[in-house]
Subunit: 120 residues, 2 copies
DNA sequence: ACGATATGTGAAAAATTCTAACGGGTCTAT
DNA sequence: ATAGACCCGTTAGAATTTTTCACATATCGT
């Protein structure tokens, strides 16, 4: 694989990671490597991310095709209403599901406060 | 990645190769490796097929998701597909979509704080 | 200024991948 | 029965890659 491709994969990893609000250390923890491995992926030092592709894609809410090829790969077309879920929305859902019930209540209340929908 | 996963990837490579009528040597030629590398992929000896995924998928007419995961690959969406979204999760998504960008950031950060996936 | 946090990078250890070579099974022609 | 062609499985090790560790720099809040 060309070095330029590696850099582009790394750039997509970084963009997705920042979009879901993770640090390199957080992504590394969820994938199962050290932070500097993630840094090297993102700066194109690694030849390719090899055996961690599926895990990276899952954590970041990306399709593997998108990770490898870029473009508008839509493996993530999860329908909600008429729009697919974005990466940050999937991240929010994953995090929310791992919250305790009272913390979920707090999150919902805050979302209501912030939201521009009036609820009756 | 678990050895069983490697074997399953190899089994999918072999099934697709036979379906398109190629020998190991022919596949190796088109991908750009030696025949024994292909044999090792198919018998699960290689950790994973790493940098050749896209090439193998192209030659065999497979999606990369299918190669890695098998089945009707749905990437991360399956995790949520297995469990339908609950009412509060739908509410959270709806509210989140109607938030401003900086409020979304706050919600994500709080979700990360509450979540038991928290790093560090 | 200081501490915490996030990230980039050099060097080297650790791991992996691939090649070359060997061996075995099957099939066909002689 | 034998030889040759073809296909594939496996081993050992060279080559390459990946990951870790440790250090450095920048930014931000106090």
């Amino acid at each position: 694989m060309q070095p330029a491709d590696n850099f582009e994969i790394g750039a997509r990893i970084r963009a997705a990671r920042e979009r879901v609000g993770l640090t390199q250390a957080a992504l590394a923890l969820q994938v199962g490597v050290t932070r500097s491995a993630v840094a090297q992926w993102e700066t194109g030092r690694a030849g390719q991310v090899g055996g961690h592709l599926a895990q990276i894609a899952a954590v970041l809410g990306l399709g593997i095709d998108h990770l490898l090829r870029g473009g508008a790969a839509q493996s993530l077309a999860q329908e909600f209403g008429e729009r697919a879920l974005t990466g940050d929305e999937l991240a929010l859902l994953r995090l929310y599901r791992n919250c305790q019930a009272d913390d979920r209540t707090i999150l919902l209340r805050m979302a209501r406060r912030f939201s521009q929908i009036e609820e009756k």
